[in-house]
């Protein structure tokens, strides 16, 4: 269950300022792509364009065969600060995503618990976000996004606020979930090592206005010091 995402001649402006300049990009169905770049280079803008939160000033985004006109449940989003609803328990947050499907209550509950179990949070189902650590909250957010069965998963520096150990654990979890589900993933980060640890492909974004500076395929097994040096070079030279 995954869709191809295409950016075609995509530009974005905030007021009169161009922040993204006629960008083309194709994310094959089921691929895992990291969007890497320094802060302020337009990574979130790209992600928000694909999510449908922000409108393009030129060009367009398509998901599968349909042009993106706004947010939609086939494109799930995981936010940096989780964006969990603090008035709902972990299970309640996941059930929010399931309501659309019109399932009977027990079935909805069963699926929400299964989604939480999938991210390793079976025990925390009845806890409120404020009672959970940052890593656990991001697990709930991941479960909520995945429960809606999106075909594209958009993640904006989702592990940026986590400590190193939790971050590594979340990276393993995300890799495993992706391998199981085959969802198309676009993962925004400013951390080279995170990009290399997770993605099959690393796109370097930079410049003002933002554009694609480099596009690297990450060989399986990764850990290639030359590739890391090359990407660091691209990152530094904008």
């Amino acid at each position: 269950m995954s869709l191809e995402v295409r950016l075609e001649g995509l530009s974005a402006h905030y007021g009169d300022t161009r922040v993204l300049d006629r960008t083309d990009l194709r994310l094959p169905a089921g691929s895992f792509t990291a969007l890497l770049g320094p802060s302020g280079c337009g990574k979130s803008t790209v992600l928000n364009l694909v999510a449908g939160f922000v409108r393009a000033s030129e060009g367009r985004v398509t998901a599968g065969s349909a042009p993106v006109r706004g947010p939609g449940p086939e494109r799930g989003v995981v936010f940096q600060h989780y964006a969990l609803f603090p008035w709902r328990t972990a299970r309640g947050n996941v059930e929010f995503a399931l309501k659309r499907l019109g399932l009977p209550r027990p079935e909805r509950r069963r699926r929400a618990l299964a989604a939480l179990a999938e991210v390793g949070l079976a025990d925390g189902a009845e806890k409120y976000p404020a009672q959970l650590s940052g890593g656990m909250q991001q697990r709930v957010a991941l479960a909520r996004a995945l429960a809606a069965e999106p075909e594209v998963l958009l993640m904006d520096e989702p592990f940026g606020a986590l400590d190193a150990l939790t971050r590594t654990r979340m990276q393993h979890l995300l890799r495993a979930l992706w391998q199981r589900r085959g969802t198309t993933v676009l993962f925004v980060t400013h951390d080279i090592d995170e990009a290399l640890a997770l993605a099959e492909r690393v796109i370097v974004l930079g410049g003002t206005p933002g554009r694609i500076l480099a596009d690297h395929t990450v060989p399986a097994g990764s850990g290639d010091p030359d590739l890391r040096a090359l990407i660091a070079h691209h990152l530094g030279s904008d």
Binding site: G70, P71, P73, G76, F96, A97, K99, Y128, A130, A148
Partner: protein, 259 residues
């Protein structure tokens, strides 16, 4: 600009010191009244005040005044709170609407309700309508501002998350915007209730034939200081009671809020 009322829970665990201060004030009051430092007849003792209070309670005057005042304040508050909340949600959610009406609110806000009493009387006479509308107006402005502020602070990511999870407009309102703004809504209602009491007094002093503030005015004309003290005591207790009730309701309704 506007001070946020302290969060619910401020009374929790503070009863001991509060009772201590109340006792000290009572003692000072008693000593002052007995010392003869104040001209006779101008400062009743606590006992005289209590007697005046018991008197009006037994005669039924207190219940009648309390009923009249509560009906006015309650109806005015309900109308103002409903309209003010609706406006607050609308302008808080729609920035363009907000930009259009903010200058108007900034202009109206500094005009105290009491300044509007003559106008309300001219328009609606000295009947109940004028009083209710005056209270409603004062509450409306207060509640509007607080709710607007709360709604406009709802994190964009909450609304975005809801949209990308496929929630239609009515679900985004009921399941996201409403609970996200609930703490602000409750603060708004508490503040609105205190404003309703202020406007009530202004409205009754502007001409009434019943009510707690009307009674204060009558007692003032007869220099019944003991009764005036009793009336002020009732007004104060009324305000505290309403605030405590709203705060307690708030703690239950927005249990997740840490503020």
């Amino acid at each position: 600009m506007h001070a946020t009322p302290s969060p619910p829970g401020r009374y929790r665990g503070r009863l001991g010191p509060a009772l201590g201060v109340a006792g000290a004030v009572l003692t000072l009051w008693y000593l002052l009244a007995r010392s003869g430092a104040v001209a006779p007849g101008l400062l009743p003792t606590p006992a005289q005040t209590a007697a005046a209070l018991a008197d009006s309670a037994c005669s039924g005057a207190l219940a009648a005044d309390l009923g009249a005042s509560l009906a006015r304040a309650g109806q005015g508050f309900a109308l103002g709170a409903v309209v003010g909340s609706a406006l607050g949600f609308a302008t808080g959610y729609l920035p363009r609407l907000s930009a259009a009406v903010t200058p108007l609110i900034s202009f109206l806000r500094p005009i105290p309700a009491i300044a509007l009493v003559p106008l309300a009387t001219a328009w609606f006479g000295i009947g109940e309508t004028a009083k209710r509308l005056l209270i409603a107006y004062a509450v409306l402005l207060a509640v509007w501002l607080y709710v607007h502020d709360g709604v406009s602070r709802v994190p964009v990511s909450h609304l975005r998350a809801a949209r990308s999870l496929g929630a239609p407009l009515h679900r985004r309102f009921i399941e996201v915007l409403l609970p996200a703004a609930a703490p602000a809504l409750l603060a708004a209602l508490r503040y609105g209730a205190s404003v309703a009491l202020l406007a009530l007094v202004a409205a009754e002093l502007g001409g009434a034939d019943s009510g707690l503030a009307y009674r204060l005015q009558v007692d003032g004309q007869f220099l019944r200081v003991d009764r005036m003290f009793a009336g002020l005591l009732v007004l104060g207790l009324l305000g505290v009671t309403i605030d405590l009730l709203l705060a307690a309701a708030g703690r239950r309704l927005v249990h997740w809020s840490t503020s």
